[in-house]
């Protein structure tokens, strides 16, 4: 995977820096008194051009430290509308989880979700952009690679001509999605515009693994959201980090979370020795 080089620089740097400081640094747990004054509503969901239904989650914030579980909210009303005027009312399938009812996401459409939670209404919009095809995929054995010895999977994709495309890369290995904030890579097309470009994921894998490589075409808004995920969740709390701030949310009325839209291409690689 070739993620945006600027994050490769900063990421690697921070990693090594922390490592070197680590030679002198020590760490210990401290007790802090952090108070949550009032919970905030959190809404999260994605519409893609893959077949539905699409799932949304409604919850509220809880204490940061400690073990408090996720505080899911039942009884919310959610409606998704597209820019042609079609509306889809969501159904609560289990507490806090809501699903669309027949809606099919399409490229070049804008979508709006409107959620009513305990009498307050929150809404967010996003645009579902285009994506180019994956042309081929495969794996390669490497014993001198920086992330360790093993099989590395990659693919070749045709980037559509014209600046302004943004991508999110995901990876599923043996049916399990790599879903930590460090595993999501985003990039734009400024270095590869219109090119047939190779990508490789930075994980050494094993022979026999079944791997699904996935690229999502996302809007600039979604890209900006992931930049805040990267900046906030993978940089330390020291004087070198960006100032702490909430992740970018596109909901109005103060709700946290994110409403995303994506066009998806996938390919499956079975690693053979």
């Amino acid at each position: 995977m070739r993620m945006n080089p600027r994050y490769r620089l900063a990421g690697k740097w921070t990693l090594l820096l922390v490592g070197l400081i680590g030679l002198l640094a020590c760490e210990e747990e401290i007790a802090l008194d952090l108070q949550l004054n009032e919970p905030t509503v959190v809404i999260e969901g994605w519409i893609t051009d893959e077949p539905g239904p699409y799932q949304f989650k409604v919850s509220q914030t809880s204490d940061y430290l400690g073990t408090s579980p996720e505080d899911l909210l039942s009884g919310a009303e959610l409606v998704v509308r597209d820019d042609l005027g079609n509306a889809d009312t969501l159904v609560e399938v289990r507490p806090g989880y809501y699903e669309t009812n027949g809606l099919q996401g399409e490229q070049f459409r804008s979508y709006t979700v409107e959620a009513t939670v305990s009498g307050a209404t929150y809404s967010a919009s996003n645009f579902l952009p285009r994506i180019g095809p994956i042309v081929g995929s495969g794996s390669l054995y490497c014993d001198t690679c920086v992330f360790g010895e093993g099989y590395y999977v990659g693919f070749l994709a045709q980037e559509p001509a014209g600046i302004g495309d943004y991508y999110l890369f995901r990876l599923t290995v043996n049916d399990s999605l790599y879903d930590s904030p460090f595993d999501f890579f985003v990039t734009d097309d400024r270095l590869v515009d219109g090119q047939l470009s190779p990508y490789q994921y930075p994980y050494p894998l094993e022979a026999g693994d079944t791997v699904v490589v996935e690229v999502r075409g996302i809007s600039q808004l979604s890209y900006d959201h992931y930049i805040t995920v990267f900046q906030q969740l993978s940089s330390g709390g020291g004087p070198f980090g960006a100032p702490p701030d909430n992740l970018l949310s596109n909901f109005d009325n103060g709700a946290l979370g994110f409403f995303g839209t994506a066009s998806v291409v996938k390919d499956t690689v079975i690693i053979v020795p």
């Binding site: 690697k12 740097w13 002198l24 640094a25 020590c26 802090l32 047939l196 930049i227 004087p239 100032p243």
Partner: protein, 798 residues
């Protein structure tokens, strides 16, 4: 400013010229240089006093003084710290040039110096908010990893706070780190730190013995930064004999050689330093660590030539680099280079001039490869070429006039990404920006009465961003580029200008006490783009442009100074209030790297800071040192941050205490001691959290609402000096001294960072023995560095 600028200048100069002319009747001028008798080097800041009439002058940066007095016979006392006084008898019946040589005080003569008249510099000087530091003094203080560091010493002064534990970045009176101007032989040093801030770029062996930090009341001849000026000079080199000095420490070694090129005419000095911290990495069992290199080095070089008593030229340069390599995957280097060529010329024995041509460059480079093996190079930086012409006119003992001009051409290189070899990657360059920064200044240090002295001046600064370049135009939201405008080479893109009045005054209440006051306005036309608290070497500078306005600051300060016990104990209280406009911060999630439309990520607001600084200082005796205390508050208000409400700035430190002392145990041994305390750094802690997909994510409410635990630390040192030479003419041999330092002597866990993590652990289920469940727990962790860091340094000279 309604008054035309030319008029203001004219008015100022007329006042000065008239007073000078009126008082210049039947008087003669005594002028010359004050030099060190052993090395022949100039002594700046020495006082040349005429006690009988209570007048005097200081030597300037180049050791030149000039005094114009009525015809008479005078007893003249020449005095500088570290030298016994020299007294001359002068029959001033014509203009006289007298070069004075002072014999350095041998420390072995004993710590107690007998002086008939004690210095009261601190109460009589018009400098408000200026701190003078003697290198000799800091050599006896504890040194972190054995490296004598001028910037670490600055952090011990009232009004100056450290960015974070162990880091050499500093805040002055609530300003940002990038609002500090650091000059080395007149050249700007853009990034004054090595190893990400744990060391400063200055090799103490190559520096002049005295340097100054201005926190307020900055003289009109300095400009370009909002908060402070640190003015450092490189030594000229011994004019009389060849010498080598050096040191071997746990972290770095240094070597300096110097000597005459032509005795008393020309000399040179060469100085180098290299760290070998990475050698420790070789001991690591991890091949990744073993194949990592991380070191820095720097060189200083200077030569000067006295063409005649009226003309002298200096050429000096600095080159420093940090290098960071990780296996074959990447190589990284960054650093400053500066060069200056200076010409001192005496137009008359009262008019001194200095012309300087300056080169200054900060470079950051990264050679790496993408994971698919595509090689690339990235570079960024800033480069200046500047010319300064400064004049010093010793009109009469009551007026000393300084005027001059400077012009700088900046080239800003925000980022260049170049793939190497055969590749599908494309080049990406954020276009360079060009700008001229210029200024004219005039100031007068006027002794109005025997009690009242005022230093007043005016600086007029201009900034012109010029082509070539392609400038983005933005739509109504100020964010979406609509089209671009092309500018050809030299074509004006944006112009800014403004006046910067600078006034400071001292009023002597009696022989032991004075009150001082100052006002200054400063403008900063270039901005550092960084959203971390500490600075990274890849932080980039950008000019004021069509979208980013210059920063402007006003500061007033008042102080009361009083000496006790015959000037053996100095004390002062200073109060300041400071306004800062057009302060820059960045949006949440701002992308600052390789971003051609960086101005769309900027948020603009204002800041203000106020505080009280208390200082008690004992300059002489077996026991020397100071106790400083600062009480201050710094706030910022920026739309888009903290919901537009004022918040505590990163530089906010409520309490800051430094107790610094050296004690001469015996003729050869001295103890150094420093204890610091400061209120914890401002931070933002989460107030709550939520699951985004399956990741627990913090929720924040506002900016900098919390504080880290307080910082405090004790450092100790023991310095052993060489044996005393029995008589001064004895042939030189190797002399050596030892410095043993212990950093953080009581092992305080000073917070460097606080991180939050979610962990999964197995916990027994209540009521079901033997059954466990997975529980996700969030905890806070404190990271601390440097507990008990001992070091030993062996210094030598021959």
């Amino acid at each position: 400013m309604k008054m035309p600028l030319a008029k203001v200048f004219l008015l100022l100069s007329l006042t000065v010229v008239t007073t000078a002319w009126l008082s210049a009747q039947s008087k003669f001028t005594l002028s010359g240089y004050v030099r060190d008798a052993e090395t022949g080097e100039d002594i700046p800041g020495a006082s040349v006093l005429v006690p009988s009439i209570g007048q005097g002058a200081f030597t300037n940066t180049y050791g030149f003084y000039s005094l114009t007095l009525p015809q008479a016979d005078y007893r003249v006392v020449v005095r500088s710290p570290g030298y016994p006084d020299d007294t001359l008898s002068v029959a001033l019946d014509q203009n006289r040039t007298i070069n004075v040589e002072l014999n350095p005080l041998d420390y072995q003569l004993g710590p107690v110096v007998i002086e008939d008249e004690r210095e009261d510099d601190n109460i009589s000087s018009t400098e408000v908010g200026a701190e003078k530091i003697q290198l000799k003094e800091i050599r006896r203080l504890p040194a972190f990893m054995g490296e004598v560091d001028v910037i670490r010493t600055i952090q011990l002064l009232p009004g100056v706070a450290s960015v974070g534990e162990g880091i050499t970045g500093y805040y002055v009176r609530g300003g940002q780190t990038n609002q500090n101007l650091v000059l080395l032989d007149n050249a700007t040093v853009y990034n004054a730190s090595h190893l990400l801030g744990f060391f400063s770029v200055f090799n103490a062996d190559a520096l002049k013995s005295e340097y100054k930090l201005y926190k307020g009341g900055i003289p009109a001849r300095y400009g370009g930064r909002l908060a402070s000026v640190l003015d450092l000079g490189m030594r000229e080199g011994n004019m009389r004999e060849f010498k080598a000095t050096g040191g071997i420490g746990v972290l770095a070694s240094r070597l300096t050689v110097e000597g005459p090129i032509a005795k008393d005419k020309a000399s040179f000095i060469l100085s180098g330093r290299r760290t070998y911290a990475d050698l420790f990495l070789l001991a690591s069992g991890d091949p990744d660590v073993r194949n990592t290199s991380l070191y820095f080095y720097d060189f200083n070089a200077k030569a000067n030539y006295r063409i005649s008593d009226r003309d002298r030229i200096f050429v000096s340069g600095y080159f420093g680099r940090d290098v960071f390599k990780f296996r074959d995957f990447f190589a990284n280097d960054w650093g400053n280079s500066t060069g200056s060529l200076r010409w001192n010329h005496l137009f008359s024995d009262r008019l001194f001039s200095n012309a300087t041509v300056i080169y200054s460059d900060f470079f950051y480079g990264f050679d790496g490869q993408t994971f698919t093996g595509e090689g690339f190079e990235f570079s960024s930086g800033i480069r200046d070429i500047a010319f300064k012409y400064d004049w010093n006119w010793f009109a009469n003992p009551r007026n000393e006039i300084k005027f001059g001009l400077d012009v700088t051409l900046h080239k800003f290189q925000p980022g260049l990404f170049e793939p190497t070899g055969e590749t599908f990657l494309q080049d990406l360059e954020v276009q360079p920006d060009y700008a001229f920064e210029s200024a004219l200044y005039l100031s007068n240090n006027q002794k109005i009465t025997d009690r009242l002295t005022v230093d007043y001046g005016l600086r007029y600064s201009l900034f012109d961003q010029v082509g070539p370049g392609e400038e983005y135009n933005y739509g109504e939201d100020g964010e979406t580029p609509t089209d671009t405008t092309q500018f050809s080479t030299g074509e004006l893109i944006q112009h800014y200008h403004g006046l910067e009045p600078r006034v400071s005054a001292v009023y002597l209440l009696d022989e032991r006490s004075s009150v001082k006051g100052s006002f200054m306005r400063t403008r900063q036309y270039i901005h550092l783009v960084s959203n971390s608290t500490a600075s990274f070497p890849w932080d980039i500078w950008v000019p004021s442009s069509r979208h980013i306005a210059p920063q402007i600051s006003d500061q007033v300060s008042v102080g009361y100074f009083r000496n006790f016990f015959d000037n053996d104990l100095e004390s002062s209280v200073e109060l300041y209030y400071k306004w800062m406009n057009n302060q820059i911060d960045f949006k949440n999630g701002a992308e600052l790297f390789l971003n051609p439309t960086i101005e769309t990520e900027v948020l603009v607001g204002e800041g203000w800071s106020y505080g009280a600084e208390f200082l008690l200082r004992k300059p002489r005796g077996r026991l020397t040192g100071w106790l400083g205390y600062t009480l201050s508050k710094t706030l910022r208000q920026i739309d888009g941050i903290n919901e537009g409400e004022p918040y505590a700035a990163n530089s906010d430190r409520r309490h800051d205490i430094s107790l610094v002392s050296t004690y001469q145990l015996t003729d050869r041994m001295s103890l150094g001691f420093s204890w610091v305390y400061s209120t914890g750094r401002r931070v933002t802690y989460p107030v709550g959290g939520y699951y985004l997909d399956s990741t627990f994510v913090p929720q924040y409410d506002g900016r900098n609402n919390d504080r880290m635990p307080d910082n405090h630390r004790l450092d100790l040192s023991l310095t052993i000096d060489p044996k005393k030479r029995e008589d001064a003419n004895q042939k030189r041999r190797l002399e050596s001294s030892w410095n043993f330092s212990l950093y953080n002597a009581y092992g305080r866990r000073n917070p460097f960072a606080i991180n939050f993590r979610e962990e999964t652990e197995e916990r027994p289920v209540a009521g079901q023995p033997g059954v466990t469940e997975e529980v996700r727990v969030r905890r806070a962790y404190l990271t601390y560095l440097f507990r008990w860091v001992p070091s030993v340094t062996w210094n030598f000279n021959f």
